[in-house]
Amino acid sequence: MTRLSWLAALAGMACASLASAQTSTTDEIAKYRAALQDGNPAELWEARGEALWKAKRGPKQVTFEGCDVGKGPGVVKGAYAELPRYFADADRVMDLETRLVWCMVRLQGYSEADAKKNPFGNGSDKRSDLEALTAYVTSESRGVKMNVALGHPKEVEAYRVGEKLFYYRGGTHDFACATCHGEDGKRIRLQDLPNLMKTEGAQKAYTTWPAYRVSQGELRTFEWRLYDCFRQQRFPELVYDSDAAIALTTYLAHNANGGVYDGPGIKR
C-alpha cells in the first residue's frame, strides 16, 4: 500500500471507532430507557387517580363522574388526545389540569386556592391529587391519536399566543424555547433535545408526558414540564393553569397531532 493509503486507512479506522463510540453511548442510553419501560411507577399514580376520580370529595361530596373534560360528563376515554380545547361554560381554552381544577371548584365545592394548593407532589407526605388525577385521565388516552382541533376562535388564538411564546427570548440568558428545541441535533450533556419544530419531534415529546421522572421520584405532568423549562431558562415563574401555560400547551399539543398518545411514560 502507498503511504497515503496507509494514512487514509488509519484515519478511516480512527473515525470509525470514534463514530461507533458515540453511537454506542446513544445505544446504551436507549437500552437504559427501554429497560425502564417494564414496570412504570406511573401506574401507582394512575391507580390512585382512578380512585380519586370515583370518590366523593370536597364540601359538596361529589365524584368527578360529572366532570366534562371535553367528551361529555365523566367520559375519560380519549379525552386527553383532544385537549386543550375551548369550554363554553368557562368561556376559555383549558388544558387537562386547568379543567380538573375547574371541576374541583364547580362540582366538588373546593375554593380555587385549595384546589390548586399542591400541584406538584413531593414524597408520600405531600402527594398531589392533581398529578394522580392527570395520570389516570391521560392513561385513558393511551393508543389514541392526538387530535387537538383549532375550531373555535379562542383555540386559534391560544395556538398563536403559544407559538409567539415558543419563540419569545427573555430571562437573564435570553433563552427561548426555540433556543433548545428549534433545531436538529442539539443536546444538553447526554440528553438529546427534541426538535419541536418538526412533527416527529413534537409528537415524540408531547405523547410521552405526563411521565414518572426517575430523577424526581415522582410522576410529573405537562404543566410541570413547562414550569421546569421556564425555571431552567431563568424566566419568571410560569403560573399553574395560566393562559400562558395553556397557550404553550395548545401550540405543542396541536403540533403533535397524528402522533399516537403513549403516556404516562417513564423518563430520566
Binding site: T25, E28, I29, K31, Y32, R33, A35, L36, D38, C180, R187, I188, R189, L190, Q191, L193, R213, V214, S215, G217, D228, C229, Q232, K267, R268
Partner: protein
C-alpha cells in the same frame, strides 16, 4: 384479616399467611425493624466483609452468572435496572452489591426450589461503579461483576 380470606388461605394449601409470617420471623407492627434483617451485611463496606456477614467466604468468579436487561450506562443513578440470572446448579440465593455505594449490599434474594434463579429489580447507584452479583449455590459462593456508568443528566427528558 377477614374471615373469608383466612378461610380461603387455609384451604389454599394448609399454610395460613399468619403461620408463614411467624415462621419467617415477621413482627407485628410497631417494632423497630424486621427481625432477621442482616444489619451487619447491609452495613459492610467491602465485598469480602459483605460475603462474610452473609455467612460465606472467598467467592469464586463465575461465567455462569449473567446480567440481563442491565444497561451499561444509566441516565440517572436513582433508578438503575439490574437483572441477574444464575446457571449454577442448586442456586439458593442471589445478592446484588454495588461497589461504590456507601454500603455495598443492596439486596439478598432467597430462591426456594421451583423458583427460577433469575430476577430483576432496580437499584440506586451513587456513581459509576462495579455491580456484583453474588450467588450462593450448594453452600458455596460465586460472583460476577459488571461496570455500570452513571451519568449526570441534562435538564430535560
Amino acid at each position: 384479616m377477614d374471615r373469608g380470606r383466612r378461610k380461603a388461605l387455609k384451604s389454599g394449601g394448609g399454610l395460613t399467611l399468619a403461620t408463614l409470617l411467624a415462621a419467617a420471623g415477621w413482627l407485628p407492627p410497631g417494632r423497630a425493624q424486621a427481625e432477621g434483617w442482616n444489619k451487619s451485611a447491609f452495613e459492610a463496606h467491602s465485598l469480602g466483609e459483605s460475603v462474610k456477614a452473609l455467612g460465606g467466604s472467598d467467592p469464586v468468579q463465575s461465567k455462569d452468572i449473567e446480567f440481563f436487561q442491565t444497561p451499561e450506562i444509566a441516565e440517572n443513578g436513582a433508578v438503575v435496572p439490574v437483572g441477574v440470572t444464575s446457571r449454577i446448579p442448586k442456586t439458593e440465593s442471589i445478592a446484588i452489591l454495588i461497589e461504590k455505594n456507601p454500603n455495598m449490599l443492596a439486596a439478598v434474594f432467597d430462591i426456594p426450589p421451583g423458583t427460577e434463579p433469575a430476577l430483576s429489580t432496580r437499584v440506586k447507584m451513587a456513581q459509576t461503579s462495579n455491580v456484583y452479583a453474588l450467588v450462593k449455590a450448594d453452600g458455596r459462593y460465586y460472583v460476577a461483576a459488571k461496570e455500570i456508568k452513571v451519568t449526570l443528566g441534562g435538564c430535560g427528558g
